[in-house]
Amino acid sequence: MTDELLIEQVVSAHRERSLDGAVKSHPAWHDLDEAGRERAFAAALEQRALEAALAKDGVTTTVAAVLRRITQGR
């Protein structure tokens, strides 16, 4: 898989959780070198800015993932 596609996966807010409930790093993140990880960071910033504008409630996928975990944990 190319760096571009690895970066796109890292931009996603989806993360698996470990058995103890901790959020796990994306497998694609581990396959990137330092420059690729920094590009993924910049792309995620852009993506979240776009998401906040496109979501009616202004909630990005990151915040939505956290909210889902909070409400499921109740």
């Binding site: 796109e8 931009v11 989806h14 993360r15 993140w29 960071f41 998401e51 990151t62 409400t71």
Partner: protein, 192 residues
Amino acid sequence: MSEALTDERTELAAIARGDVDAFARWASAVERSLRLSLQRFAASVDVEVVVQETLLRVWQVAPRFVHDGRPRALLRFATTAAHHVALGELRRLGTTGALVALEDAPEPAVDPRPPDPHLRQAIVGCHEKLPDKPKAALAARLHSRGAEDDAALGQTLGMSLNTFLQNVTRARAALKACLEKLGIDVSAEALP
């Protein structure tokens, strides 16, 4: 006490009472600031993990959080918490070289920015113009709200993982190009 500080205390009290909507508003307002505070960790830890874990910790600590009387108390607390979560991730990954370099680094102060209605309008307008497949792939990501991985999202659209990822990338590139024609640089909007 200033009006902004009164509003902040009111919002914080709501979060402490377990008001998820209040927490969603606060988290949406500070997410960019929090993420930017982690920029120096970007090569060493998966920043998405740190942001999500930090927001969860803030939610858990909020009922016991004591406001120090200065503006943006919860954001300052969250920034410090994010720093500790990132250092914990570094230790877990065994990245000791980076740890030495990052442990004492000062935490940057990044103020939250209110949403810009004109920017939002421009982004929505450009989104309308996206070609079908990139638009569908981006929509799948947005509607999933981080619940499903990209392979599963691609499957719902009849796309392989690679095709799905290519379409999301194309969607973002096309949005950026459309916004640039309107004189808006998304990269600049996302950064301080």
